[in-house]
Symmetry: C2
Subunit: 878 residues, 2 copies
Amino acid sequence: MSGSNADSWVVPFDEGRAADKLLLGGKGANLAEMTHIGLPVPPGFVVTTEACRSYLAEGQVPSGLFDQVEAALKDLEARTGRRLGDPSAPLLLSVRSGAPFSMPGMMDTVLDLGATPETAAGLAEMGDERFAWDATRRFLEMYGRVVLGVSEETFNHNLEAAIESAGATDERGLSAEQLAEVSDAHRRSIADAGQDLPEEPHEQLHLAIEAVFRSWNGDRARAYRRVEGIPDDLGTAVNVQMMVFGNLGDRSATGVAFTRDPATGENVPYGDFLIGAQGEDVVAGTRHVHPLAELADEFPEQHEQLLANLDTLEAHYRDLCDVEFTIESDTLWMLQTRVGKRSASAALRMATDMVDEGLIDVDEAVTRVRPKQLEQLLHPQFGSDAPEPLTTGLAASPGAAVGAICLSSDEAKERGIAGEDVILVRPETSPEDLEGMVASVGLLTSRGGLVSHAAVVARGFGKPAVCGASELRIDAKADTVTVGDTVLHAGDVISIDGTNGQVAVGEVDLEIPGDDPRLERLLDWADERRVLHVFANADTADDAGRALESGAEGIGLCRTEHQFLGDRLPLIQKMILSRSPEEERDALVELERQQREDFEALFEVMDGKRVVIRLLDPPLHEFLPNVEELHIKEATDGLSDHERDLLEAAEQLREHDPMLGVRGIRLGVLRPEVYRAQVRAILEAAAARTAAGGNPLPEIMLPLIGTSQELEWGVNLIHEVAGELRDAGAEEVDYTVATMIETPRAALRSGALAQYVDAFSFGTNDLTQLTFGLSRDDVEATYTPRALELKLLPVDPFRTLDPDGVGRLIELAVKEGRETFPEIVTGICGEHGGDPDSIALAHRYGLTHVSCSASRLKVARLAAAHAALEVSGPDATA
Amino acid sequence: MSGSNADSWVVPFDEGRAADKLLLGGKGANLAEMTHIGLPVPPGFVVTTEACRSYLAEGQVPSGLFDQVEAALKDLEARTGRRLGDPSAPLLLSVRSGAPFSMPGMMDTVLDLGATPETAAGLAEMGDERFAWDATRRFLEMYGRVVLGVSEETFNHNLEAAIESAGATDERGLSAEQLAEVSDAHRRSIADAGQDLPEEPHEQLHLAIEAVFRSWNGDRARAYRRVEGIPDDLGTAVNVQMMVFGNLGDRSATGVAFTRDPATGENVPYGDFLIGAQGEDVVAGTRHVHPLAELADEFPEQHEQLLANLDTLEAHYRDLCDVEFTIESDTLWMLQTRVGKRSASAALRMATDMVDEGLIDVDEAVTRVRPKQLEQLLHPQFGSDAPEPLTTGLAASPGAAVGAICLSSDEAKERGIAGEDVILVRPETSPEDLEGMVASVGLLTSRGGLVSHAAVVARGFGKPAVCGASELRIDAKADTVTVGDTVLHAGDVISIDGTNGQVAVGEVDLEIPGDDPRLERLLDWADERRVLHVFANADTADDAGRALESGAEGIGLCRTEHQFLGDRLPLIQKMILSRSPEEERDALVELERQQREDFEALFEVMDGKRVVIRLLDPPLHEFLPNVEELHIKEATDGLSDHERDLLEAAEQLREHDPMLGVRGIRLGVLRPEVYRAQVRAILEAAAARTAAGGNPLPEIMLPLIGTSQELEWGVNLIHEVAGELRDAGAEEVDYTVATMIETPRAALRSGALAQYVDAFSFGTNDLTQLTFGLSRDDVEATYTPRALELKLLPVDPFRTLDPDGVGRLIELAVKEGRETFPEIVTGICGEHGGDPDSIALAHRYGLTHVSCSASRLKVARLAAAHAALEVSGPDATA
């Protein structure tokens, strides 16, 4: 033997353990584990992932590998009493891929290796002659396709020709002789394709191992890994194992089984089997399978043994396991096991049941339900019989809805208020669409991403939304929505599922989750374990009520811009058109009164809980009509005097890059009366609540801070207004002050900022946008998908916090802020506040809280517990 | 005496030195210095800035201060033989402010303190009765205004009434008795204003000191400090000094003098004087002064003594000094000195002359000309007789120009090419205006800031520009430009000065600087001393030629977007409208050929010098017509098919925030053929130059990098194209690769980026924009001025690099980049590369080079030398 790592390229099953997953792959490690605990596993060995990595890096198998394979094979032959290629007692091998993370069906497998014309007689002795030739033609099909690259259709064609000439309905109707002829035809096809079939089984084995290695970099496998976030550099192991046969006649069978029901979680073994068949026949779904319980009728002993094995496995793995098994001539073999995938509700039921059964502890139970699975338990979804979707967009706000298409907000408002279920369908939405959005049961846009206006508002309202469905062509003049050849009209009914982004024509039956006391139990456990506090982003008392029901400990972000929309739009427009601080102040009087009522209602709902209110943030032109539309009207119908005033103001306020323009504190500096009115409204509302015996806890937050001087200015403004109210004899109100950290500079200057405030709130949407110089809305449909495909962006940074850039700034800001003011409260209030991976980072950075929309609160509570329990990443239960 | 700092509130002149400027103020320190070197200074003492700071912080004078003042006063009385308030031998005092940095006329002064009705007789003995009453009324005027806050007009009114009733022409025509009456009137006015005039001179002195302290925070003083960048927390000293009188008749005089001519730098003493007058009369400019040389006629002895004193001062300070002097009854007194202000050309002449005279060394000479002064020596400017400007905008590109107003680029192009001097006047400019801009002698815009398109292009072309002149109302339909009531028409001649932002009606005489060999001598000295290399931003061979003449060591930034404009616009539009990589490639063939020619010409001019070429950066919609205009045309006249295609493309490419959209490397990723064509053009041009015996040194730079994967992708693309050319048999070309660092994330990930490139170039415009979340164009006319006024922004971060945020990122990126690749080249190529204060920071951060437009190169060379010589800040010579 040669090569420095020569000792370790091959590991026999009885020398490995489940923990060796990275080296042996998931399948190999579990085969080894089952062997270790005494279950009947056909003997074999694993060629390690290390060998694969070496092969892929060097372009050739590592030196010594095949020597070790031969040695392991010799050992296997000794155990089984059969030999590879031996005409009288032939050993057949399965050669299966097995990656460290499950990639079902993505890589290649060769079965029946060792079935050759020379071994046909010996095989016939195991079963019969037909079995021998069936194995041979199966081997040729798989080997031809996987190792030699001959197209699958070629082999299908040969088989179908034989079936047709035999007058049979399928291959089961072919005789041994006919199957031998198929084998011959396959051999000819391989030769015709210019490929060389090695006749020697040992050589076949070597080439099969290499082919499995290569399949790691196949297109399908690469695509799957990209979607699932599996690293490209792990490589696959190769499991070489004695074949056992479920198709050796009536006393043989094959099947799959779960230790519990993976759909419901009920503690009853679950599975299917076929008599006289191979595993691929079960999976293919072409034959009618029998439920596991019926196995007791035909194979009572093996059934009992299988149930005992399942119990052993579940007790050993302390989790749901699924297995593949085969009965070969009355002998039960376990061919594979792994921790089983399960539905969200099954995960929840099993987690709580297993605690009650004493199988796992509560910590473990909390980790058994993935935060992302929770979404399925919280919102209606398309049922399993939903039709093929018309198109798919971004899953922008979870839940599903059915309603009539409305192409304008006015129409949606009218029909929605009249009691009709409508879905507002727009290229994108703006604050002007708000009332139409409120009146709709769901939103569908053709442009805009996960943080577009439509998406953010929908999540705030807890309404389903599909955004950026770019195949939609919306023609507002013709009142039509077109996808390819399908033309829908306003009023037609569609269904949308904001959990998976699907859009379907007509009414789809929805699955509506019921109340599950297990969920509350799990979330209570999660709450006891999490360190992060969980706040809600909520703008109104209604929002806040929903948030409380979902377990919000306070309001982490109340955006006040929504208080200026709808009926109030003319008031803010009057303010914008004002020419002096006096006019500005007058225009604000009525708005201030209405805001005071809003805040009073909010404080009442959130009595005794912190409510963080952000002063006005968006640029003022968002409250004005669209300049372009006014210009077109000017050029065609002409403008009224008021419209001309609005156009002039809109022209003046127009910005090239509104995200970087006069918004946030800059707006406050240029229009201080707006901020003063807001602060007065907040403090007077709090005073009124205090007078009524309540306990309001307002925190006033300043947006888009860039310099410590800006922050100082804003904080002084707040204290000044408070002082004026005090001087005017108002009830004394306790309030705290916070700053958003959403510009990189604010993060870099956090040490200075911490002098002025009680809290930092990381606005991770803007912070991500500025750190990358990347506008969420402008790239989500263009650059982002391409960049994710090319792995130029490791993840979409607007979904999951970027640890290397944005996260680094957050970590630095927390550290330097605490150096100035150790008790400073720190939280995230961007979209990331509801994303489990981002919550894990927030925990790692030592933040005080996360804040997210009400619909994501339960997910956040669970994710925070996972972070505290140090569950790593999204693959924890897979 | 009480108070812990009690020892130090007061310092007599003979105990201080010039170096004590921060404690004694500039005036006091220099009076002390003159006393120290034996010049005749009227005795006195300084109340320190520390006392002022204490007063301003506590709201009352520090304990012990007035005790010390009295003690120092007693000493002064002993020296002079006169006593404050003594009727027979009265001492009169001047009480003058004196800040650490010169703030001429910004703070308050009280003279003649001690002139009261009681001391009038004693004063009459010094001069005559008229002198006594003149001093008394002068004292009342100043004290009334400064200490008691009575309006100046009140006193003017009393004086004018007296002059009128006496039938005199000015106050010199008033008799002693009449002046006594004026004093009485002044006293009555003070009482009428409700103010209490203390009669006791000691009390007057105390209150005068407090008043001077308070004047530090007067509106004018604060405004001045804001403009000059003087810190607010320094405080002022107060100089209390024996009055001497130049108005005691014919043997008295007063004047100002410079050791050399401050306008030309010629080594000849320069100054003015008046006989029988006080200093304020010289400064007021109401009387006809005599040139200093004539002093020899009337006061030969004193003249000689003064010249000797000037020689002493210049030898002592080794710099131009200016002085105030007074001759009281044949005795010469030196009242003040300081290092004198000088014109730019005088600074240059004196710096070189003083080296030749052995007065200063070359290091010192280099520091004697401020980089910002250089601008005056390099560009035409409005002459000193320029009329009042019509309006003022931002000084966007230095130089002055005179031309006819053109309101459209087409017209400017037509008339400019026909040989007329035209000034293009637009709300703002876009790439479509380029040809009109080229054909104009100057640019004037009403919107946009110092880094707007107009400003950047103008500086690139070395053309004068005034931008953001927000008072301009441009009405393109009426062909008028209006400012207030002034209406100008297209074709009217205006003048603009891009050095100070002035816009004037009609033709203004310009001062055109000549070639000055002293400047080249100074810059040679600077080049020998600077550590930073100085590169130019230049896009064409012509630009590069100009840059070379100004001393560029290479091209630090060649922006390739200009290669797609003008005649080439249809070609890039064809590329944008292409539907496949093949069409894209075809559309690029002609563009590639033309770019190759551009680069070849550039490499020829810059033979043997590094040329850094940035691949296409701006979003593609910048190459398409304006969507809004097309929409209006669609709604009115209708669109052609081609226009409809352009509209569709423009709609699709339209972005909310183009600065954060698909540009830079993102464009390259989505349109790789564009980048491939550019790289081919660069490398083929370099190969052609090499074949012709040249030595091209191309460096290919990738813009707007956010992740290391993006950079790796871009670098691989470059190497791939190079490999393809090599494989096709092209001449081997050496090239290097660079990345822009212009997103905060790139700075934060510099350690990873440094693996892939030879150089970092900090794009400080974008980096500033993203770090602050502030769009240069959108806030420069709105938020920025207000924020500077309120000191919410310490400086305009687009003019001068922000050290705390942006600078911190640069420092970090340089450090972490060098940890990965110690030899990495680092430079700044944003607008800051030509700003002296930013260059000082670049030097401090250890960057390799700065790169700026050709017109700023000489300034940059000098600033880099200043940085190396550790000249601090803008106040180095003041």
